[in-house]
Amino acid sequence: VSKDENISDEQIMQALRDCGEDLRRGTESRLSRHRRAAVSAALEEMSSAAEVDTNPKNRDGILFRSLMQSAAVCTVVLGGVLLFQHSPFEAIPQPARDVARTMLPSGESMSPQQEEIEAADIDGELTDAYAGLSAAADPLFAEDETDSDGFSKESGDDFDGQHEEASVLTALAPDYYSLEVGSPADFRQLEDQNDEYSA
């Protein structure tokens, strides 16, 4: 093609296609030996790569890695269980939460955080009161010896015990127990009445 003649787009495209066809023919006919060698070498490489995996030392390594992974998973699960058991949400029992809710006027609600704080306070007070109640009740039950008539041998101590119990409860949780049980003054008055009755 001379410089003066314009090479058309179609001519260039056709030349490239011819070149591609020539190249395809050449590779098919001239490279068959290399093809066989290349494919076998690749298969050998595949086998040797796999042999590395089946090497006992590497298998030990894989076993060790698996064990470490299992140990890590167990640690996470156990940690989760322990955290769940000691979670602040579970530390406060449901009754305290119910009490906290009932303290609100109807129609109002408190945020979860407020509910937690209130429930924790109530739970503390209830726990203390229960501990006091148990402490006061122990001597009562310890002296629970009755005579043949079914009455207590030392019937006068019952009032003392009740008085002691009520005092403890009143001292520990005055807001909750003073109304039901009465103040120490009421008890003194009750004791006087009891003395009069005994007399």
Partner: protein, 233 residues
Amino acid sequence: VFGDAQTVSEELTGLKPFGNMTDAELIAEIRQGRSASAFRPGASASAYSERSRQALGELLNRHYAWLARLCLMEIREQTAALDCLQEIMLEIAKSISRFDGRSALRTWMFVIAKRVSARYRSKERQLQDRFPLGKEDDVSMNDAGMRTEGDDAEEQLLLSERNRRLLGLSRMLPEKQRYAVFFHYFEDLSVEETAERIGCSAGTVKVHLFRARESLRRFFDDEAEKVQREGRS
């Protein structure tokens, strides 16, 4: 009486011949062979079953030709081109079990081929820089990176003089134009298929092809001018 030999073999063994399998089926076969025997207590020679090795052999044979042509277009010297091709096939064999099918298999292979051949091209360029006085056509290298002569891929493949020149010119195009020309003209793929293989839009492929043709036209014009000048003198 017995029908097609492959069909009979399939009926007898219950196994589909590799020649009838798609690429995806061959890959599944390779994976299946690996999972069945890998890490088996007492596994000695290979963790791949014989069938999975055969499947890989079929896959590599199937894709050998176009990978070879790609290497021969990318790298001028045939020994280096075939070394590059060998390395590409090793890479494919090593990582085929990790192929996850997110792209087409040929696209995945092309990415590997592009990466490996870029390394060889860079080596070839360094060699040309080391021997700047030699004519470009005479510069070549062997495995040891030494300069040799008369080992051009075009010569070995018995290409016609015009096609040898055209292949040499195509090799000098920018990367994207080169790949567009290779897949569309040399491999006879459609513009859409070329776009999928290269990883760009069909419009972009058309632009690359147009620019490549313009560059080649300039080469031809210069060549024609040179021939005219020599004829006059």
